[in-house]
Amino acid sequence: MEMIQIVGLGLVATVLILVIKEQKPLFAFLIAACTGIYIFMYLIGKIGGIIEVLEHLAESSGVQMIYLKTILKIIGIAYIAEFGAQIVRDAGQESIASKIELAGKVLIMVLAIPIISIIIETVIKLLPA
């Protein structure tokens, strides 16, 4: 039922955009952005449920919470970057979209820095001095 709602919303938004696009391209873009945000917000609740399950799983199995936090941050960055980039891309600004994606990639790599440093430290300690 939820899927039908979302698809219906998407179809209505698409028809509206097709109608408006000729006269007012700006409003067409606004409708597209709002529809996208609405669907995204709708999905956030579902993703929250999944994350809760993951957290519970990690907590019960004694995995360090810091790992899970890192992974969740990665997902968050990926989702937000993707969402923003697509909205911008819809407006026809391909270059800005690719910059947003680049920012997302860089932020994900920044998250990896402490892990890399710890691993390298350990490996260096392992090697005979």
Binding site: S61, V63, E82, F83, K105, M109, V110, I119
Partner: protein, 272 residues
């Protein structure tokens, strides 16, 4: 083995979460990067035993590494990091204090044990000293041995070893011997009644077995009664001795260490 199971569980869960994340990702563009970071995390999990070998506070180290990075990302500035450093210093200080306190407690317990053994002449099973760092409350105790604002002794538990020897326990020991003997005799009687082989004097002339058995049984009964009563006396005596001992230990501890008697508990090792 427990550690190994824990480790395996951690690896499995991390890999599971990684696969899940892979499915959750919105598009292909981010996939390579996310996979890289997640595989690094898995590697870190795999390496965690090695990490633990090389540094005792590996977990804390990881946490600080991540926390530092995140606070930088969130726009945290030097004030934030100084706070973190101060917090860390505070934690280290507390840890050191706890270690020092524990060490002092052990040392005090050892000395107390020696003193008690010397004064009472009885073996001491163990002495447990609980120290607290109460600056205000330690005023009273601080006058005696410890420094002005140092830790104070909160509780002392003295466990005496089972009292079976020693100059004061001679009587108790004797009565215990009496207690043991009749038990043996009764046993012999039962055996003699059925087989007549254990008691040599009974087994040789079989006729007066019953008579002698009767007599012996009566004797044994009387003796066991005696033993029971003496046992009771023994217990009473022991209780008295116990209280005397308790008083002695408490007095000693008060004299030598300035510990008021309500903090001292004396137990005997008989319970175990």
């Amino acid at each position: 083995m427990d550690f190994l199971a824990e480790w395996l569980k951690e690896i499995i869960i991390v890999v599971l979460i990684a696969v899940f994340i892979d499915l959750l990702l919105p598009n292909r563009a981010m996939e390579r990067y996310v996979k890289f970071v997640v595989s690094l995390l898995i590697l870190l999990t795999l390496l965690s035993p090695v990490l633990r070998i090389f540094s005792s506070d590996a977990k804390q180290k990881i946490e600080t590494a991540f926390a530092g990075n995140w606070s930088d990302q969130d726009g945290g500035n030097t004030a934030n990091s100084t706070e973190a450093i101060l917090l860390q210093g505070e934690q280290l200080r507390k840890q050191q204090e706890a270690e020092a306190l524990q060490w002092a407690g052990e040392e005090a317990a050892r000395q107390m044990k020696e003193q008690i053994e010397r004064t009472t002449g009885l073996p001491v099973e163990r002495v447990t000293v609980t120290l607290t760092e109460e600056k205000a409350a330690s005023k009273k105790d601080a006058d005696t041995k410890t420094e002005g604002t140092g830790p104070s002794i909160k509780q002392v538990e003295v466990v005496m070893r089972e009292v079976s020897e020693g100059s004061e326990q001679a009587e108790a020991e004797e009565s215990r011997k009496i207690e043991i003997q009749p038990v043996e005799k009764v046993k012999v009687d039962i055996d003699g009644g059925s087989e007549g082989s254990v008691n040599p004097s009974d087994s040789k002339n079989l006729d007066p077995v019953t008579e002698s058995d009767d007599i012996q049984a009566r004797e044994a009964m009387a003796e066991t009664e005696n033993a029971i009563s003496s046992n009771r006396e023994d217990q009473l005596e022991q209780r008295q001795l116990q209280s005397i001992l308790e008083g002695k230990v408490e007095e000693l501890l008060y004299r030598e260490w300035g510990i008021s008697p309500e903090f001292v508990t004396v137990k005997s090792g008989n319970g175990k």
